[in-house]
């Protein structure tokens, strides 16, 4: 901005911020050396001397808040969240990664493993397999709880590579769901043969009779995850018990591959860039943010065509040539949010669940206070 006397500034109507302060408040300015005005002004009385109220007004928030879905697929979605503070956007991101429950394999009972993959390595691999079961239908299993139909999912894996046959690749579709619980009997119960042999789980009913599991059997989300390779004569026989957990305990319980957001980039041409300079500008941008527009009489002009694609590499303002002509900014309250689900729940459900969790947290504080 050019320096000038304060007295030359135009008068600003009461209750409105002067344009340059408004710009500093709503945009991060990305200069060639470092970004400036990165802070968010939160204090309610920050602009009271200018007659501007910066307090939280729900009405105002309701009016300005907007969500635009850009892309929605089975396991991935992208949407724009406009008119929200970064603290809330970050809270949702953190909850998505660490505090939304899912089901994951926690205990592996290995009966036989003669493959080259060690027991503990195989168990770890099993743990990371996303399981297609709605975690909302299950309870948490605490340390001294019995494994029951409402807190445990049991899978069986029994693969054998016969002698003389080629090597086998064991994939996640070999994990077979056992709706009746474990089939391995406890050694201690062998003595009284009258009753049903006790197993590692105590299911009362088959999980197939619960919810909609008969229509949609529980299985790994992806059938083609490689678990191990078996040579001739090698065998794996095991049982895997999946329980409900949260991403903050172990990343295997995280329902998202990643969830992230970025602020909307804003590219502004402060001066006209024409003819050869325009062509040069278009070439300098590695992500093709600029385009050339014909203005008639053989004249060309650079325009900002795809500001969303800007990665803020600052290549265009690195040399002195365009430094004065281009402003790279980020909109502070516009978030491009991307969620990549692992498959257990669709991404739009994950987000609503994340918002619900933040609500629950607030409610907990309220009940503790009163």
């Amino acid at each position: 901005m050019e320096k000038g006397s304060v007295w030359d500034l135009p008068d600003v109507p009461e209750g409105q911020l002067p344009p340059h302060i408004q710009l500093q408040r709503t945009r991060v300015h990305c200069n060639s050396d470092a970004p400036t005005h990165t802070e968010n002004v939160q204090y309610s009385g920050a602009y009271s001397s200018l007659g501007v109220d910066n307090s939280l007004q729900l009405e105002q928030f309701r009016k300005n808040f907007r969500v635009d879905v850009i892309r929605l697929e089975k396991e991935e979605m992208e949407f724009d969240m406009v008119g929200i503070d970064p603290s809330l956007a970050n809270a949702f991101r953190r909850i998505l990664i660490a505090e939304l429950p899912t089901m994951a394999i926690e205990k592996v009972l290995i009966a036989n493993n003669t493959s080259v993959v060690q027991d503990e390595v195989l168990s770890h691999r099993l743990g990371l397999i996303p399981i297609n079961a709605d975690p909302r239908l299950f309870d948490y299993k605490s340390e001294n709880d019995d494994p029951k139909e409402n807190n445990t999912i049991v899978f069986k894996l029994h693969v054998r590579c016969e002698r003389g046959s080629p090597r086998i690749t064991v994939k996640s579709d070999e994990l077979k769901w056992l709706p009746n619980g474990s089939e391995f009997s406890l050694e201690t119960s062998a003595a009284n043969s009258t009753s049903k042999p006790k197993t590692y789980t105590s299911f009362h009913t088959s999980q197939e009779t619960l919810h909609d599991f008969s229509k949609k059997p529980i299985a790994p989300c992806h059938p083609d995850i490689i678990l191990a390779k078996l040579g001739p004569g090698q065998e794996i026989e095991l049982e895997a018990h999946a329980v409900k957990g949260m991403g903050k305990t172990h990343a295997k319980w995280s329902p998202v591959a990643t969830a992230w957001y970025r602020m909307l980039p804003e590219v502004v041409l402060l001066k006209e860039v024409e003819d050869e300079r325009a062509e040069k500008l278009v070439k300098t941008c590695p992500v093709n943010v600029f385009d050339i527009e014909d203005v008639g009489k053989g004249k060309k002009r650079a325009v900002v065509a795809r500001p969303r694609g800007c990665t803020l590499c600052r290549e265009c303002i690195r040399e002195d040539e365009f430094k004065q002509d281009i402003a790279l900014r980020r909109v502070k309250d516009h978030f491009i949010f991307t969620i990549e689900s692992t498959g257990a729940l669709p991404p739009e459900v994950l987000f609503t669940e994340a918002v619900k969790i933040l609500e629950d947290k607030c409610e907990r504080v309220i009940t503790e206070l009163s």
Binding site: S44, S55, L56, K361, C362, R364, V365, L369
Partner: protein, 105 residues
């Protein structure tokens, strides 16, 4: 969760156990935008302990009341976010469904 208050109810520190930046930062945001608050901030005394201290100082109202109101505000905001998001998703899927039908014609 406990409440650390001395004689003056207008400034207190609240200890939220089993919470982290997720809630504390959002709360700090809501508190700072309340005109009754003169100061608010939070700290995590030790990274391996799951608790945060939230400091609230007000112009005179009891700090616990202001904190409760801020929680209430946050909840209302969350509810609005949820309904807006759900609406946006249904709009998007409906629109997409319509577009797919056009292709078949």
């Amino acid at each position: 969760m406990e409440l650390g208050t001395i004689e003056d109810p207008s400034s207190s520190t609240f200890t939220l156990s089993e919470e982290d930046h997720t809630l504390a930062n959002s709360l700090r945001f809501a508190l700072n935008q309340d005109p009754r608050v003169t100061f608010s901030g939070y700290s995590i005394p030790h990274p391996s302990e799951a608790r945060v201290n939230v400091r609230v100082q007000t112009t005179g109202d009891p700090a616990s009341e202001v904190l409760r109101d801020s929680c209430q505000d946050l909840m209302l905001m969350c509810q609005h976010i949820r309904s807006t998001f759900d609406q946006a998703v249904t709009d998007f899927t409906n629109e997409k469904g319509l577009k797919d039908m056009d292709i078949k014609k």
